[in-house]
Structure formats: C-alpha cells, structure tokens
C-alpha cells in the first residue's frame, strides 16, 4: 500500500528531515510512527500526501509512484488519503455538517452525493445528533472527531493522522484512538503519528521509531521505546 525506498528529505539549506528511510506498509495495517520532537515524523506524513517531495529515493502509494508527482495530480492523491493533521482545523463559521460537507463541495461532488455521504460519516464518528453545532460549542475530542469524519469523506484507503490526540486529555484520547481502530477494522490503512507512550503501548500494533530522521526500530506489536 505504502512503500518508501531509500527516501531522504533535506530542507534548504541543509536541515535533515529524513535520512535513507525504507518502509513498507501493507493494506489494512495500523502503524504508529513514534519519536521525539523534531525527528521527522511530520515530514514522513507530509511526503505521504505529496505536501513535501523527497530529495532522494522513491515513494509509492497504492502502486502509484508519487516521488515526482505533477502538481495537477496531487488533488487526485489527496482524495485517496484521509488527512488528520495537527494544524488542520475546522472552520469556525461553519457547522459540523457544513465543515464535513465542505470537503466534498470543493471537490465537485453533487449536492445529492453530499446529502447522502455526510450523515454516514457523522454516524461513523458518533456525532449524528450534533450536526448543527458550531465547533466552539464542542469539546476538543468532539472537534477532532469532526476532523476525522471529514477525512473519511472520500472513503479513503489510507488515513494519516499526525498527533491527533496532541491537545486532548486521556479520556478523549482513548475515544479518538478507538475511533481510528474502528476505521481500521473496516479495512482502512491507518498511519498514526504520535508521541503518546500509553497510546502506543495499549495499541499493540506495529510501531516504527524514528530518531534524527532515521528509522531506528520497526516492530510488529511494538512498544514505545524512547
């Protein structure tokens, strides 16, 4: 599903983002990417959605080599990967429903499709009754669930979540992780970037540890090492 071959990323002038990374993530996996701050986890996630290009090496997603993807093709890639990013918020002036619908609207979906798909996505994240609320009327955990609902809107094969529980308390964190697990059980590949030790240790899934841009450990059913 996802393959990094000898991927390096250097930010100009010479800041190392990633160094010679080799990873293969199979369909349906739930992979945690862990590591200290500034080690290249976000860089990894961004390269997956072609937000950054590798300086060296090759990245293949679903059989598609995106190492040198054309700008005009990036939207196609993004419609196949659901994204939950740290600084990727909800629009405060739109309701929950409108925030989720927005992702379909701007991709040219018909009104009919929007009215059928948005309630489904809200149902999956358990927010059916709160469709008409505004983000400020919701808890941090609920807001993050709206973001996840939005990332599901194109029925992606892959979901990339970069520190989705970063600002949440342990209860809300558990809810979000449970939701991601549920989505993974439907068959969606989940790439979870986190530095939450408890989350990783409880998941008992594959853990890739990055340090200073390099993969230092890759374990099936791993634990948080650092």
């Amino acid at each position: 599903m996802i393959r990094f071959k000898n991927v390096s990323k250097t930010y100009p002038p010479d800041v190392i983002g990633l160094q010679n990374v080799n990873v293969h993530i199979r369909p349906g996996e739930f992979v945690s990417i862990v590591g200290q701050s500034g080690t290249g986890k976000t860089t990894f996630a961004k390269m997956l959605i072609a937000e950054e290009r590798p300086s060296k090496g090759q990245i293949v997603v679903g059989g598609w080599d995106i190492s040198a993807i054309k700008p005009s093709e990036v939207p196609l890639l993004r419609r196949q990967i659901g994204v939950v990013f740290q600084d990727f918020k909800l629009l405060p002036r739109k309701t929950v429903y409108e925030n989720v619908a927005f992702a379909l609207e701007v991709c040219g979906a018909s009104a009919k499709k929007i009215t059928s798909v948005v309630p489904q996505a809200l149902k999956i994240v358990g927010l059916t009754g709160k469709a008409d609320r505004y983000p400020r009327q919701m808890s941090g955990g609920e807001q993050q669930r709206v973001v996840i609902a939005r990332s599901l809107i194109h029925r992606p094969k892959i979901i990339v979540a970069d520190e989705p529980t970063g600002n949440l308390d342990s209860l809300n964190t558990r809810e979000i992780i449970d939701l991601l697990k549920k989505i993974n059980e439907f068959g969606t590949t989940v790439v979870l970037v986190t530095h939450n030790r408890d989350v990783v240790n409880e998941l008992r899934r594959r853990v890739i540890t990055i340090d200073r841009g390099m993969i230092v450990s890759d374990q099936e059913e791993g634990r948080y090492l650092l």
Partner: protein
C-alpha cells in the same frame, strides 16, 4: 470544470466580494477613477478634433489689393485662382464692401471711425477671400500669388496668424491629452497596487479554507478561480459606475461645450453611441485584463497551490 463547481466558484467569489466590503469599495473606486480618467481622455480627443475643425472651417486667406488697383485686374486674379485645383471658392469683396465691413466692425469705436473720416476717401482696396479644399493647400496658393504678375498689385495676404492659431489649438489639445493620459496611467498604476493588495487580503482571509481545500483534494483551478471571478465582478461594477458618472456628465456639459466651441458638432454622447461596442469593449477588456493579470500575480505569489 463541472457545472456544480462553477456555481460554487461563483458563490465563493461573491462571498469574497461581500465579506471584504471595504476592500471591495476601495478597489472598485480606484477602478472607476481609472476608467473615468480614460473616458476624459477619449472626450478630450473628440473635443480636440471638434476645436480643430471649428478653426479650420473658419480658415480662409484674404488677399488685399492696393486701393489703386483696377477692378478688372482683381477679376483676372480671381479667375486665375479659381483655375487652381486646390481652390474651393473665391469671394470677391469690393472696395465699398471693405469699407462697409470696416464700419460695421468698428461702429462702436468713435475714434477709429472719426480717423477714417479724416482720411477723406476709401482707403481700402478690393479683397479676395480664398478658401481651399485642404488646409495644407494654402501655402501652395500663396506661392502661386507670389508670381510678380500678381505680387505687384497685392498689398497684403493674411494667413499666418491663423496657422499659428491652429498650431496653438493642436498644441493645447495635445497637452491636455497627454495630461489625461498621465492621470489615467497614474490611476491605472494605483489601481494595480490596490487590486494586488485586495486579492492578497482576500487570500489571507481565506487562508484556513484554502489550506483545507488543498488537503482534501480540491483542484488548484477550483481554489484560484474565485479570485478571478471576483476580479470580473469588480470590472463589471466599476464599468457600470463609470457609465453612471460619465454619461450624465457628458449630457450636462454638452450644451456648454457647444456654446464654447461655437459649433453644433460637439456630440460626445453621439460619439459614444456610435462607438458604444468599441468603447465599452475596450474599457471592459482593459479593466478585465488588468485585474486578471494582477490576480495571476497575486495568486502566484500568495497562493501556493
């Protein structure tokens, strides 16, 4: 782009247009100023031509004969002049006519009339008033009259003054046009800066939406297009406002201008009506081109998609 996307792009553009209302007002205003000054340029061009043709139509050359010259000689010269292809018409003014005309011109000035009386006899010679087909032909006609055969009987030819007047009218209207052009260019430049800034603010106001659009897979065309549509909206509104200013202004000033130039041929509205498609097309095209190029610059600079 599909039909629904087009509708949504237009909706987005209208939102920008309405949400940043003060920016919209400023942008449209400066576009209107530019357009109005451009129309002043057009009007000046038309008026300059009117002024010139008014002056030209009044141009003729008076050839004054010596008072002692026999009338037959004068008639010979007239026939000679009429034989020239450049000459349109020659009017004969006898010695008596010249005196009457003089008296009419100066009837209010007792001193001059008195002085004339003291001369005791008619001091004026006959006059031939020549009008040519073309202004450019006068020098040729004058040259023909320089022939000694005629030069001996001619006292004076007056033409030079009017040439100076034409030159003056031409110079003034050129200067006015240049001034209007400079003003238009200055407004155009300011308009460019303001449009650039408005789009920058517009992009900034939508920063989060744009970030989301990119990450959920909206095409770059969809993200950019609203800003172009907004530029089209500005152009349309500016042109409409400009028409609402310029046309009534012409209607109001037309009688005064006609009076001023002493001719009925001042017809700015008529000129605009006759060239409506060209004028509206050119002005709308120019505004649109300017705002679209600016939009391209702004989106290239501030919209990384």
């Amino acid at each position: 782009m599909s039909f629904v996307s087009t509708i949504r792009v237009i909706k987005f553009a209208f939102q920008n247009f309405v949400r940043n209302s003060w920016m919209t007002v400023a942008t449209v205003s400066v576009l209107v100023l530019t357009l109005v000054s451009l129309n002043m340029l057009v009007a000046m061009n038309v008026l300059g031509k009117v002024a010139l043709s008014a002056v030209r139509s009044k141009i003729d050359v008076s050839v004054h004969f010596r008072p002692d010259v026999d009338d037959n000689r004068v008639q010979t010269v007239k026939i000679f002049l009429l034989s020239l292809p450049e000459v349109k018409d020659v009017t004969y003014l006898s010695q008596a006519d010249a005196l009457t005309q003089f008296n009419q011109t100066y009837h209010a000035d007792a001193g001059i009339i008195e002085a004339l009386g003291e001369v005791g006899q008619n001091p004026f010679g006959a006059t031939l008033i020549i009008s040519a087909h073309n202004l450019e032909d006068y020098p040729k006609i004058m040259a023909a009259l320089d022939d000694p055969l005629y030069a001996d009987v001619i006292e004076a030819k007056d033409f030079d003054d009017r040439q100076a007047m034409i030159a003056r009218v031409e110079a003034v209207s050129k200067k006015l046009e240049l001034f209007a052009l400079a003003v238009s260019a200055a407004f155009g430049f300011i308009a460019l800066l303001i449009v650039l800034n408005t789009i920058r603010v517009s992009i900034f106001a939508r920063k989060e939406e744009i970030a989301i659009m990119r990450l959920v897979g909206a095409s770059s065309g969809f993200i950019r297009m609203p800003f172009y549509v907004e530029a089209v909206l500005w152009s349309v509104v500016a042109l409409a406002v400009c028409a609402m200013i310029v046309l009534p202004a012409f209607m109001f000033s037309q009688p005064y201008l006609s009076d001023f130039f002493g001719t009925d041929s001042v017809d700015l509205l008529g000129f605009y009506a006759a060239n409506a498609a060209l004028i509206v097309g050119a002005e709308f095209g120019a505004t649109l081109l300017m705002s679209c190029i600016t939009t391209k610059m702004a989106t290239a600079k501030y919209l990384k998609v």
